[in-house]
């Protein structure tokens, strides 16, 4: 088994969308169900956390800047750690996450080399 990190990438449209409280409730339910499913099946190692939207970047010349000035594309909104036998299996798990269904992407990365 190998560990994979899921980085949830949210598109600017997704971040601008103002859901109604009812919609928020539905989205939350999807995530709770998915995480519970992961805990039961054993592939969820750590639900992880969300990252606040504010983002700074430190480059090689040690300059600090607002990340938005570098790339205005998707931002990483949070992460989770999962366990899977292969990249293919990890991808299948990622497909089942609520992220793609709400317009975001999941970057699946092997932890370690």
């Amino acid at each position: 088994m190998a560990r994979y990190m899921f980085l949830y990438r949210e598109s600017p449209e997704q971040l601008q969308h103002q859901p109604s409280p009812e919609e928020m409730q539905q989205v939350m339910q999807l995530w709770t169900n998915w995480m519970q499913q992961g805990a039961q099946a054993g592939w969820l190692i750590d639900g992880g956390d969300a990252l606040k939207p504010e983002s700074r970047s430190v480059d090689a010349s040690l300059e600090v800047s607002d990340t938005a000035t570098i790339e205005a594309k998707e931002v990483v909104g949070g992460y989770s750690l999962i366990e899977a036998a292969s990249l293919e299996e990890a991808i299948e798990i990622a497909k089942g996450s609520p992220m793609p269904h709400s317009g975001g992407s999941v970057e699946v990365r092997l932890v370690g080399h």
Binding site: Q18, P21, E22, Q29, W31, M35, D46, A50, G77, S80
Partner: protein, 429 residues
């Protein structure tokens, strides 16, 4: 990596099974926070407060994907408080007011925390009901802003629940908010001299809300059942306050009697079921008992229209079957209602009761005179009712004509299915 896991476990605040949010958490917390923060910072800041709350709820939603905290309400209150305080820090007028009152940011902070205490929240909600139902606003705006700020519905949800264009609802809410802010309506509870009219205004809004939700409920939008539920919830809050009057309790009883019958109003295919065909075992006996209890509590020497409406609903709820319904009592209740508050809809319903009470011909005459008086022009179901009563009089051909003209108008799909089935049954005869 291995010690990282144990580190995060304690902080994540969820056990092996992630916690779940209670139903309608976001909607209800939104309402509670608007009420609380508006009471603290004033009605003129309602827009700012609602914006900050929206931001806080979105933050909560994004964070809680990874696990719901043990005290989600506390979490979101804290974030909303900070958002509002941040916004006010940038507001010069507010800073001046603070200085004037010899308050600093910390004391404001404490004030908000205290206002979030459970007992205070209920009180704030009650104050907010009076603000949203303020006589400064017309009934349409009262209903719209109540649904928006006190029930946490979005503009689109309200529009679909009330069968109105979103743009109309949006304008009503904006106009209401602006009016309230400009008049800087106080969140103080009504004074004795205005108490009667203010409580009556609240009754009207809750009655309208419930009726709007109920008459359209069971259709394509689930929101409508939620609107009924919210009207009942707010009415319950009022009935538990020192402002409750006998008619408040009768109104609550009426809501709950109707709610008890929600289960039987639709069949599996999603079409309406007539009262006479409903499976009464689907009615919620627990709710019926609760409603009876409130109707008992509402006794008074000067019954209101809510008392008579609730009494009619009770007759239906306690009848063993449609045929066992005591129509004489129901007709009498409608008589009293019309004495008290004459309306074409009450007259129409009385005619239906008279028809079922064995006098369909008399009912038909009353209906036709109502129709020729032009009082029921906007009443969509009129053709449907005329069809049914003509059927009872044995005028099948006339009945069919009415059903067909009903189908030709723009009606909800669940009503269409019902009438189509009715027409099909004639073909078989």
């Amino acid at each position: 990596m291995s010690d990282r896991k144990s580190e995060t476990d304690s902080d994540l605040e969820f056990d092996s099974q992630p916690a779940e949010l209670v139903e309608n958490f976001f909607r209800h917390e939104s309402a509670r926070m608007v009420a609380t923060l508006t009471r603290t910072f004033g009605v003129h800041r309602m827009q700012l407060i609602e914006d900050c709350i929206q931001t806080a709820l979105v933050e909560a939603m994004r964070s809680w994907r990874h696990g719901v905290p043990k005290n989600p309400a506390g979490w979101v209150h804290r974030v909303a408080k900070n958002r509002v305080l941040d916004a006010l820090r940038r507001d010069a007028t507010h800073q001046k007011a603070l200085a004037f009152a010899h308050l600093d940011q910390q004391s404001t902070d404490r004030m908000v925390d205290e206002s979030f205490e459970e007992s205070q929240i209920e009180d704030s909600l009650l104050r907010m009901i009076f603000v949203c139902c303020h006589p400064l606003l017309d009934p349409g705006s009262q209903v719209a802003i109540t649904l928006k700020t006190l029930c946490g519905f979005s503009i689109d949800e309200i529009a679909s629940g009330l069968l109105l264009p979103s743009e109309t609802v949006k304008k009503r809410v904006q106009r209401a908010r602006k009016k309230l802010a400009e008049a800087d309506i106080s969140t103080d509870l009504p004074r004795d001299d205005e108490l009667h009219s203010r409580v009556s205004a609240v009754h009207n809004v809750l009655y309208l809300m419930f009726n709007e939700g109920y008459s359209a409920s069971g259709g394509e939008s689930v929101v409508r059942d939620d609107i009924c539920e919210e009207a009942t919830r707010l009415c319950y809050l009022l009935c538990h306050s020192p402002f409750a009057r006998p008619d408040s309790k009768a109104l609550l009883a009426l809501h709950v009697f109707h709610a008890a019958r929600l289960g039987g109003r639709m069949d599996d295919s999603g079409s309406s079921v007539l009262l006479e065909d409903q499976d009464r075992s689907l009615w919620d006996q627990r709710l019926i008992a609760i409603a009876k209890h409130w109707l008992q509590l509402s006794r008074t020497n000067t019954p209101s229209r809510f008392h008579f409406e609730a009494a009619i609903a009770q007759e239906h709820c306690v009848a063993e079957s449609f045929d066992a319904t005591d129509w004489t009592v129901i007709v009498r209740c409608y008589d009293r209602l019309i004495d008290l508050y004459d309306s074409p809809v009450y007259r129409l319903n009385r005619a239906i009761a008279i028809a079922h009470n064995g006098q369909p011909q008399q009912a038909l005459e009353q209906l036709l005179s109502l129709k020729s008086g032009g009082q029921l022009e906007s009443y969509q179901l009129l053709d449907c009712v005329l069809g049914r009563i003509n059927e009872m009089c044995g005028n099948i051909d006339v009945a069919i004509q009415h059903y067909e003209s009903f189908l030709a108008s723009s009606i909800a799909p669940h009503q269409r299915r019902l009438v189509e089935a009715r027409l099909a049954s004639f073909d078989r005869r």
